[in-house]
Symmetry: C2
Amino acid sequence: MTTAATTATETIDTSKIKPVNPPHRLLMAPGPVNVDPRVLTAMSKPTVGQFDPYMFKVMGEVQAMFRTIFKTSNKQTMVVDGTSRSAIEAALVSVLAPGDPVLVCVAGRFGMLLKEIAERAGADVHVIERPWGEVFTLAEIEEAIKSVRPKLVATVQGDTSTTMCQPLEGLGDICHRYGALLYTDATASLVGNDMQADAWGLDIVTTGMQKCLGGPSGSAPITVSDRAVEVINERRSIEAGVANAGEIAPDADRIHSNYFDMAQIFDYWGPRHLNHHTEATHALYAVHEAARIVCEEGIDNAIARHALNGRAMSAAIEGMGLKLYGDQSHRMNDVVGVIIPDGVDDAAIRAQLLNDFSVEIASSFGPLKGTIWRIGVMGVNARKDAVLTCAAALGNVLERNGVKVSTDKGIEAALEVYGE
Amino acid sequence: MTTAATTATETIDTSKIKPVNPPHRLLMAPGPVNVDPRVLTAMSKPTVGQFDPYMFKVMGEVQAMFRTIFKTSNKQTMVVDGTSRSAIEAALVSVLAPGDPVLVCVAGRFGMLLKEIAERAGADVHVIERPWGEVFTLAEIEEAIKSVRPKLVATVQGDTSTTMCQPLEGLGDICHRYGALLYTDATASLVGNDMQADAWGLDIVTTGMQKCLGGPSGSAPITVSDRAVEVINERRSIEAGVANAGEIAPDADRIHSNYFDMAQIFDYWGPRHLNHHTEATHALYAVHEAARIVCEEGIDNAIARHALNGRAMSAAIEGMGLKLYGDQSHRMNDVVGVIIPDGVDDAAIRAQLLNDFSVEIASSFGPLKGTIWRIGVMGVNARKDAVLTCAAALGNVLERNGVKVSTDKGIEAALEVYGE
């Protein structure tokens, strides 16, 4: 990664900085992806105040649409004002008081992140691990639950670092049988893969906007079951500056973050609209339009579209003679892992792809850094021309770097998936 | 406040929700204010990836411009991805380890918020208080420092709940003499009032976009002195999923939040660009353009403009026969407090102002709820026609509600301030 821009800040004449004028990229990394033009337009509508009746209408509609998208009837469905991991931290710090036992399922970077956030929250953290590229069976999660007896089981549905999608159907029942709540991070999986919050018994699900929702990073939708709301509200407090007499909970009980106090966020989104943060108006407009696009298409159609395009991208990769990474029967629909051929310079290939074709793909983290490429087929980019363009560009760059691939065959294989 | 919209979510048909189409408001509450149209345009530019060289250029320019705006040479000047209070929490939780003594100066709701956030961070919190509507002398803050010997002194420059602006010049030297760091929350004051981070010895200053910067809520600029960086980096750690071998600090030392770990945010904005969150691209474009507008005008010219328009608004209020709230010699340039005349229904007047003129003003919190109105003269709304329109509309609504005011005299008094 270049350091030039950062170093250059020291000598920038701030009176001469030009307006932002970004290059046109085709963003085929697993997020952020290109924001849908409809969302960009929505974002630039006029500002209203945070207590404007119109703002309440937009908030209410966002809540309703995310109930549809999460497949839930949870009253407490809303948006945390921050990037994807802000909602993760809000979920964990609001449920887990210091010392509370939590079981974290780790099979990639984002499982490790859940572990770290839970540790920082002071929880009693227990971990089960699987090698990167695999998923857990429900049976082994149940075994661990039996032994740990956690307050919360924390999972990642789609861990983009490995491209794997953890099966969750039935896990809620298991957790509830042992008195545990179930959390899942669906940042990179929601709208690209099936996710049934209510039917699968998920108590908290969080996501981000910059993946399959095709919106801008910076807002993090969350849904919370009544069961989890009850646990969170045990530590509910009202900020002294906005409370009525006698409403403030004792200091000792409070959730250990103000910004991530979900009980206060419920009250902000609820009928009293108790001031907490100042809702990010324009980001919320973006969330609204991104959700509208999904609801218009229909959530199951959107998932099917991601699956189709993910299959086409996989076919292109294999068709051109490259190898796919990980257990394909559990691959996320919206991310394809590609094993980087021996002797190929990961960074050089990606730089050339960006410079010549303006196409961005990513490598991964930890043990997979420089070992696999990750291609995202997400949001507005889950479409035929994006898949074919990315495949053709990658094939061409590899060929020019002396890697033996057959780009034509890759494109043909993808077209076959599309039935053409 | 209406609850209708929220209740209605239960029955919304999500396939029939219309695109956002907000009413045209003149937002004269103390934030959020109307986002400058230039900023709205910048926000809708094409997305780039978070590690794109162009993204690094935008980040570097944002850092440089905020050094100009904060009047600092602090290397660690950047944006936290969240609303104003996200940067407040990031500052406090990154400096204060559990048990660390902190002195919080409380003379309004936002001082109370600093106290609450520090308490939740587990700090040993000591408070000095002044009645709402007053400010502290540096001598009384020094007395408290002598007795508490805090690691950090936390202050609010402009507490919008009271419209007061706390003098800070010289306070840095006092704090440093006793080995304390100095933090100030300049959410509502920056760009509207003078703020000299380096000259006044401020170690951390945070702000928001939706006030005098004329941008959208959701991004929170912050600047951190080398002295404070050193304290924060004592607990620096690198996320396991992105660390090289041996780089992870011991668990016990970590800052008690991942999202608000400023050491990790420094590393994300620094030459290694170590992945932390996914920077909110489009919000950053907005921050860039809002900062460009201030740098183009010149920070001191922008402050003078806020002062002029604040004086005009005050003159209009007094001219029409209403009373100003609080110690006027310490009033924030950009917020005017108006004592609500006896017997006047606060909520009814504000609702009529919104419904008839589409002008929004605010009441306040705590002891001042329903007692004062707060009129913001901020960002793009710190201009003559906005001030006159707000004054004329308020005067008219009051007259129609039987309150004896002389709107014409108010407008005349404002025009005199403008030299007309």
